[in-house]
């Protein structure tokens, strides 16, 4: 079992929130009796019969009360809600919902496969979101939350099943049939098909894109993947894929009007978010800086990736082998 990285922190357009964003910091998942330090848990395999999941719910009520007072929001207008979604079928259930004040909150909530089979019995895993949120619409006031469902604090937990890095990149054979169906010209070497409208919304790379490699070339690489030429080609493919993902996400961020807040918009618990953070880190940048560079000087990001992944060295090795 392994954990994920950090968590996203969204920039909130409200005043007076204070420390409420941290009020759920002591809430955590317990998997098979083991408390999890990270919010993202990757299991090596998922055993429907024996695995059990519990959410240990702890809310710092002081910071909630203080934020509500600052924002002049009545306690009666706020609730705790826990929503869970299975990864395969979009099955979503509100598994817990109570007013924040007055109700006795349980210390532990069992995430039951029997009660919510399509969520907690999903073999690909599930996502759990805990919200401290408005339960009704309020009179609109500047810089104050007023739409029902607006959350004052939230935490997201996820449980997934391990996939290897190669399947993460999901290379597929670009056969003539696939090429024709995608309306690609004969001689196409690679093609990245984005299968979802939003890359930011999806946990896994394999849910969001397919990386096609010309079938004959794919077979040659797979026949001898550790040869110098195959290694050089693979690194070129990785660079192409990374650049495409980052570029696509940049378009999405711009279309959403989130330019400049990439650090919070990119969710590190998701494979794509984690990938972007890793690309940024390899180039010694934050996600905001990475996207700024990409918009201004696309080629510089490519150069940074080539340097970080040793592309030139691998190419030289391949040419050396060919020449000898």
């Amino acid at each position: 079992m392994s954990g994920g990285r950090g968590e996203k922190r969204i920039i909130r357009p409200f005043a007076g929130l204070g420390d409420v964003g941290t009020c759920l910091d002591s809430t955590f998942l317990v998997v098979n009796g083991e408390p999890q330090l990270n919010s993202s848990v990757i299991l090596e395999s998922f055993d429907f019969e024996t695995d059990n999941f519990v959410l240990r719910l702890e809310i710092d009520m002081k910071s909630v009360s203080s934020a509500l007072e600052q924002m002049k929001v009545a306690e009666a207008d706020v609730e705790v809600a826990i929503v869970a979604t299975g990864r395969s079928l979009k099955a979503t259930e509100t598994i817990f919902r109570e007013p924040i004040i007055g109700a006795e909150l349980p210390g532990e909530i069992l995430l039951s496969q029997q009660t919510h089979p399509l969520v907690f019995g999903d073999l690909r895993g599930f996502t759990l979101r805990v919200y401290i949120a408005l339960c009704r619409d309020l009179e609109p006031r500047p810089l104050a939350p007023h739409i029902a469902g607006t959350w004052l604090a939230s935490r997201e937990f996820s449980v997934g099943v391990q996939t290897d890095a190669l399947s993460g990149f999901n290379p597929q054979r670009l056969t003539n049939q696939v090429r024709r169906s995608l309306n690609l010209p004969e001689g196409t070497k690679t093609y990245i098909l984005i299968t979802e409208d939003s890359l930011l919304d999806f946990h896994s790379l394999t849910d969001s894109l397919v990386f096609y490699i010309d079938a004959a070339l794919f077979d040659l690489i797979h026949a001898n993947p550790s040869s110098a030429v195959a290694e050089a080609l693979q690194i070129e493919f990785v660079i192409e894929l990374l650049l495409s993902v980052v570029t696509e996400v940049a378009h999405e961020i711009d279309a959403l009007g989130l330019t400049g807040s990439e650090d919070s918009a990119v969710n590190r618990d998701y494979e794509i978010g984690s990938l972007i953070s890793e690309v940024a880190a390899r180039l010694g940048q934050t996600p905001v800086e990475l996207f700024r560079t990409l918009r201004r000087d696309h080629s510089r990001v490519r150069a940074g990736l080539q340097a970080a992944l040793g592309a030139s060295r691998l190419n030289q090795k391949a040419i050396g082998l060919v020449e000898s």
Binding site: I10, R12, P13, F48, E79, A81, V83, T85, G86, R87, S88, L89, K90, A91, T92, T94, R97, Q113, P117, L118, G121, D122, L123, R124, R129, Y131, A133, C135, R136, D137, P145, I147, A148, G149, T150, W151, S154, T163, S167, N170, Q172, T175, Q177, V178, S181, L182, T195, E196, D197, S198, D201, S204, T206, D207, V210, A255, L256, G257, L258, A265
Partner: protein
């Protein structure tokens, strides 16, 4: 236990059938609990019968079928909506380990629904329509998207009227604005959006702008915990804002 197909074998089967080669049996038996194959067989044979019936009234003529059902994409989607109810009702009680196994949906699309998938998405449709050609299924996988369409409609209405919601023939709205995005995780929001579109209270060109605003709001709002009247008033405000912007 149930039948499943791996991505590679599903691709092979599609290629073989399309090339007129004999269909090799690449099915794998996956072993969870009781034998579910007879009940799945029954659902699939009923599915094919219904499809044949619906198709017979749509195949003649290029624009409209004998019974007046349009055979353009909207007409096809109306039929998909109808069949989605059948797929959901027939399969909803299966073990979650079966329903969340991508191999099961590939098996259904390739082995049981091949003709329908080709009719629905085109004779040269992408392997993704069969759930093949990739490790994970996309929302183009016909069998899974039909089941989930039924599931979302059922969760939104939870009564007899879910059929009418599942049958709303809005290919683009269902696929682009419900299934492929997180809106599908909120059945009430999905339902409200689809109904507005069906009643023409929101124009087709406005759906994309509303969807964009929903996505932006999602960073601060949990739609899953909102009730129908809250969702309705939120959508109303978004539509008003879009129309105001377009006048400016």
């Amino acid at each position: 236990m149930h039948w499943r197909l791996s991505s590679v074998n599903a691709s092979r089967l599609v290629e073989d059938v399309r090339a007129g080669r004999p269909r090799q049996d690449h099915r794998e038996l996956s072993g969870f609990g009781s034998d579910l194959r007879p009940s799945v067989d029954l659902v699939c044979s009923e599915f094919r019968e219904t499809f044949a019936g619906l198709r017979s009234v749509t195949v003649s003529g290029s624009g409209r079928g004998a019974a007046g059902i349009r055979v353009d994409d909207l007409g096809r989607d109306a039929i998909e909506g109808h069949l989605s109810c059948q797929v959901y009702e027939g399969l909803k009680d299966l073990d979650p380990r079966v329903l969340t196994d991508p191999g099961f949906w590939r098996y259904l699309a390739v082995w049981e629904m091949f003709e329908y998938v080709q009719w629905r998405d085109g004779r040269d449709c992408d392997l993704a329509s069969f759930g093949a050609g990739a490790n994970a299924l996309t929302w183009d996988c016909v069998s899974r998207r039909m089941f989930v369409r039924g599931l979302i409609a059922y969760e939104a209405r939870g009564d007899e009227s879910w059929h009418s919601l599942a049958r709303i023939a809005g290919t683009d709205v269902w696929r682009s604005h419900v299934l492929r995005v997180r809106t599908g995780e909120s059945p009430i929001l999905s339902s409200a959006l689809l109904e507005l579109w069906e009643k023409r209270e929101i124009r087709t060109r406005e759906v994309r702008d509303v969807a964009k605003r929903i996505k932006r709001l999602r960073s601060n709002v949990a739609f899953e915990i909102m009730d129908r009247s809250q969702i309705d008033s939120l959508l109303e405000r978004q539509i008003e804002a879009i129309r105001r912007e377009s006048w400016e």
